[in-house]
Symmetry: C2
Subunit: 459 residues, 2 copies
Amino acid sequence: MNEILNDEIKRAKELLNNHINDKNNDELSGVDVADCLRVLKKNNEEEYFSYLSRLDVQSLVYSATDMPEHILKDLLTIIPNDKLVNVTKELESDEQLELLEHIQEIDEDKAKIIFDELDDNDKKDILKLSNYDDDEAGAYMQIELFKANLNDSIHQSIQNLKLLKESDEIEHIFKLFAVDEKGVLKYAIPLSDLVINDFSLKIKDVVKKNKEDKFKAIFAHDNDPIEDVVAKFHEFDLSVLPIVDSKGVLVGRITTDDIHEFIQESATEQIYNLVGVDDDAEYEDESIIKASKSRAFWLLINLFTAFLSSAIIGIFDQTIQTYVALAILMPIVASMGGNTGTQALTVTVRRLALGEIEFGDAKKVIKREIGISLVNGLFFALIVGIVSFIWFKTPLLGIVIAMAMLINLGFSGLFGTFIPLTLKKFNIDPAVGSSVLLTTATDIIGFFSFLGLATWILL
Amino acid sequence: MNEILNDEIKRAKELLNNHINDKNNDELSGVDVADCLRVLKKNNEEEYFSYLSRLDVQSLVYSATDMPEHILKDLLTIIPNDKLVNVTKELESDEQLELLEHIQEIDEDKAKIIFDELDDNDKKDILKLSNYDDDEAGAYMQIELFKANLNDSIHQSIQNLKLLKESDEIEHIFKLFAVDEKGVLKYAIPLSDLVINDFSLKIKDVVKKNKEDKFKAIFAHDNDPIEDVVAKFHEFDLSVLPIVDSKGVLVGRITTDDIHEFIQESATEQIYNLVGVDDDAEYEDESIIKASKSRAFWLLINLFTAFLSSAIIGIFDQTIQTYVALAILMPIVASMGGNTGTQALTVTVRRLALGEIEFGDAKKVIKREIGISLVNGLFFALIVGIVSFIWFKTPLLGIVIAMAMLINLGFSGLFGTFIPLTLKKFNIDPAVGSSVLLTTATDIIGFFSFLGLATWILL
């Protein structure tokens, strides 16, 4: 173990050394710099601080949004404010906002100082962006754009591109957005289609030269939900999507790397939420206590529902005392129902998230899922019934457990779809509460039908 | 319900009409065309065939890879082979391969006929691509490239771009890949950095004019696992990644839209696999029987392990007959252990998939997860112990269940991490088998420790 750890430290130091010795300090990405610092801090504070002071300000700021809070805190005490401001000025507007929000969590005054020192334009952009809700397209967009008027020549627009590039304020330029005099978005022309023309041509003539609608812009509104934006990227294989306001005026763009991050993070969130884990509490640097607390919340709800199941079993204590076989077999009914329901639930939650189904499809989806769970219900009722009959040599016990299985599995298909669809209908994230509600339902139905039928038929 | 259905049909027809009446037939994306056809086919075969014959061949072929098999089958009988070949020729090499593979599943001869009619170059490319394994970078790349020799002028390269564009064989051009005489990849220059220069400049001079390493190419090898490619896209915010062979020769490129699809699909696969659902069997068009069968496999394994748990309970039938309270309380121990373990398991599986941890981190990760589950184990042991004592007025019963909870939750943290890490070590997808193994372990340990301690202490 110590060997692995030593290797890790050695590797982090080697990477950082290469990065520091590299003339342009671009050997490592921001994520990598943050990772190396994290490894060092955990194992050798002294070396960590030495590297922190030797790294250039740009590399540190670029990795700041990938740092855990405690490292960012160290960084903020080491870098003088004026240097911090200078590097922040070079970032794109959405990155500036992300950085300021990250700093704000630690040191509100510092964030305010940096903000005040920025250019008026930057300030305006940041204020504009910070007004959007977290789930709106606007919150994900950059304001820096490569655009041109329809009457501009290609030559003029390429000159603008040159200025933009020199100011270092925009990366990943794939398309020119053509607007009219009012700034309304008209066309989106891939750079590769633009530069193969004579540069004296006007933008509007480039459009005319090509098939009608070839450069028709696919766009989203700034207030559109981000999920719709993701769907558009997917559907049209986009690299960049222009964002317009309610009047159609071009206000920003979302690039594909922002979408990647969103997809990965929301998939992680969904997977975690399904088992009652909060992704924010799971970073390695967060304390065990914080992670335990966040997970305990869901376990507590689960405990409550487990006691509920116990209470149901308690009703039938006489029956169990007479037929101990019931106590032996009852976990089978509950576990098979829970698993069948969880399958239906997971498929429904994921398909809702991917936009493949919505509440309007409820009847169709529920029918399909009940169908699937009844087919499996019949199959497993038969197996479990026969095995139980052979095991305990009681034919009626086999019939009782088979009936209970069929009832429980059928209902589990119903609840596995009905619960997430209903939560979604009321705008509650179906990934979060679903599985507790579901297992409560399947446990109660499972124990009640099995022990109830047994009391009725066997006693 | 019928109203919703009618609306759906009406909307599909409207969309298809607009698409057919549009001069360029590009109102709808391939996915949309496939969706509309699917809706029609399900509800009105006659209208479906009428639209199928009225749609242009290009739209149909472009939507072919998004179609369920039964619609593709109809399409293949309607479109004459020569038209099919012509449209296929326009596709990029990776799309050609995807289409041919999709057709091959239905009609092997037809796929062969189309393949034979393609240009020799296309054939060579397809054969090359189809030689890669599904999880290799090469399988995801396109062979069509915008590249130039270091000694070419910008003007020459833009002329090449024009030819490429006119041949309609490549979309999404973001970067020029500069190679030496042997075809070895040297630099990747964003189009936006290229075209702001004097066009008489040579590519190598563009590189020299800028900061050293500014255009250093980030690349992957054709045999690299696709997961590494995804990680690179994420880490460096890429739009395109050049792929080289073992000698460094540029052989293709992967664009961001391919990566999107991979991320979404692998997230879905992971979520489904965790509950024993096979994503391939879950498409709406697949029959209920197929979906039931695929889900039943996992339920069958779960049934087997449930019987195992029952057998364990069976050992203690005498104890249960004496203390029915044990039968009432035992689901609590099992359910809390299962849920605690599932949380640890899910976090570990997801972090493995995201590349945040690997087998080398095992000791660290296991320590952390056992820590979390012991903290929660202590907390819940206390609660459950007290409630059980009050409920059944037996102090020793409270102590027994508290001890069993602590043991089971502690082990659930261990197994929740150890199982996926070990599966990963042996190159088995940790999402697939983990949760069955885990709940088997937590059920057995839970029932055994609770009933065993009860027999030992209470009897």
